[in-house]
């Protein structure tokens, strides 16, 4: 009878759909290797949220992310007693960092996560482990632009949802035209083709992209503002915060931090900060 057949088909499709969604979202990059499922043995592993789409800081290389943030995370996890094999990586996009921490999806977020008053109200921060500044990236043969003031009348690219370009146009009152792209790799594409004159955001992010094609791009190295990158922790983890701060202090002391910076940005003309960032108190 037709009714039964239709409902049978529908039921089958429904079962398939729910079976699929029960598996949840597949890991692009295969990072998890399904390890989370077997990880019933509590404190054995630590889950750390990092960026997957920012070269030099956190970029998915095949099955695991690499970059400065990832090195910092590995070091801190080591100080907390987790070997690299015990770390599970998760992609922390700008939109989901707070909720990841609040829900306990991750134990820690190290993902170009600036410490702000707004965010401190909902999550705890340790660090900062690095103080980035805003800078400008231009094509290597461009000598006109030496700082934000030279951007008047130029076309500036910003990733959608980013404040960086508005800092220049609205707050500093510089008359540049904005072209909005979906993300920074699209910006770099536009810059490479000469459609825009400059890209602006945190100097670490720019340097990461510049390091991919060091001959094509030039960092202006005229930084302004400051972005304190902190280690995001679930609310109410003061003890863990102290431990992380100790780990960060040790990391700079042993110059593991500078080594990581050199590894990530050595190929570019980015003059990264080598002085130890001033740690903030845990609340």
């Amino acid at each position: 009878m037709r009714v039964r057949r239709i409902s049978g088909v529908l039921g089958g499709v429904a079962a398939l759909a729910f079976a699929l969604s029960a598996c949840g979202t597949a890991d692009v990059g295969g990072g998890g290797d399904g390890g989370g499922d077997e990880g019933g043995n509590g404190g054995e592993t630590i889950t750390i949220g990092v960026k997957y789409d920012q070269p030099g800081l956190g970029l998915l290389e095949g099955s695991a992310p690499v970059g400065f943030d990832v090195d910092v995370a590995t070091y801190i996890a080591g100080e907390l007693g987790y070997s690299p094999e015990q770390i599970e990586w998760a992609e922390a996009a700008s939109a989901n960092r707070e909720s990841f921490l609040q829900q306990g999806t991750v134990d820690m977020v190290i993902a170009t996560y600036s410490i702000t008053d707004e965010r401190s109200e909902v999550v705890d921060f340790a660090g900062p482990y690095y103080v980035a500044q805003q800078d400008i990236l231009v094509a290597s043969d461009n000598e006109d632009i030496q700082g934000p003031d030279d951007l008047a009348g130029k076309v500036l690219c910003s990733a959608s949802g980013s404040r960086s370009a508005h800092n220049i146009v609205d707050d500093m009152g510089i008359d540049a035209e904005l072209r909005e792209a979906g993300n920074y790799s699209e910006c770099l594409e536009l810059l490479g083709n000469g459609t825009v004159d400059a890209v602006t955001t945190d100097n670490t992010i720019l340097a990461g992209f510049a390091a991919q094609n060091p001959d094509d791009y030039r960092m202006v190295n005229n930084p302004f503002g400051e972005e304190k990158y902190g280690v995001g922790l679930p609310p109410g983890s003061t003890e863990r915060c102290e431990e992380v701060n100790a780990a960060i202090a040790k990391m700079w002391e042993e110059s593991a931090a500078t080594e990581a910076l050199e590894a990530a940005f050595g190929a570019t003309d980015f003059a990264y900060e080598e002085s130890v960032p001033e740690l903030e108190d845990c609340q």
Partner: protein
């Protein structure tokens, strides 16, 4: 709601881009759609093949990718510029992308309309000695257009809603949905009234279109 209403100029500005995108893309996609249909039924095999390949290819590609190709490919990599200011340059490329995409649906509708024309009409036209172009121009397209007024209205409404994709995908036109997202992110006004306000804006654009085309479809329907 007051916070939303105090930003009404941004809303109006967003919708002004939406309307401009819709009107221009509707115009160009209609012209291109008729052309594609004519090619698709033409006596020249190569034209038929090109039209089929174009329609099947673009129709099955997400609009996001079509616009990405316009923004990053044609505009940026090929360095083709349509206007001096960035805002108008990306606007025109969005119009091109939306037209290229929508034309496929116009063409498919028209082709469906052609198929509803009784065989006798076309045979009669041929026996009168009309050439292919005359046949198309005088007999086929006018009747086909009248039968597909309703579906073309649907295509136009889909286009209106699709203009929101132009705010992403490498172009970043500051149309209505982009303004809405900005107002969400900047916390200018509470989210729910903002959403409802923009939703009403779209309904104001879309509902009359639907009723107008429904009325028109009945009015010009070919009685057989």
């Amino acid at each position: 709601m007051e916070a939303f209403l105090s930003n009404i100029d941004r809303v109006v500005d967003g919708f002004s881009w939406t309307v401009r995108l819709t009107l221009l893309s509707a115009l160009f996609s209609f012209v291109l759609g008729v052309l594609l249909t004519a090619m698709r039924v033409s006596p020249v095999p190569l034209l038929r093949g090109l039209s089929t390949a174009y329609v099947e290819g673009i129709r099955n590609t997400p609009l996001t990718l079509v616009l990405l190709f316009c923004g990053l490919g044609l505009n940026s990599a090929l360095g083709l510029s349509m206007a001096d200011s960035v805002a108008w340059d990306v606007f025109w490329w969005a119009v091109i992308g939306l037209s290229a995409y929508t034309a496929c649906f116009v063409s498919e509708s028209l082709r469906a309309g052609i198929n509803t024309i009784p065989l006798g009409q076309v045979e009669a036209a041929r026996s009168l000695g009309l050439t292919f172009t005359q046949n198309l121009r005088l007999i086929v397209i006018p009747q086909a257009l009248r039968t597909v007024v309703g579906p073309l209205g649907s295509v136009l409404i889909a286009l209106t809603k699709n203009t929101t994709v132009a705010s992403v995908a490498g172009l970043g036109v500051q149309e209505a949905s982009r303004e809405m997202k900005l107002m969400f992110d900047q916390g200018i006004a509470p989210v729910l009234p903002t959403f409802v306000g923009f939703a009403i804006g779209f309904l104001i654009l879309v509902l009359p279109m639907g009723y107008f085309f429904g009325w028109l479809a009945k009015r010009v329907a070919v009685v057989r």
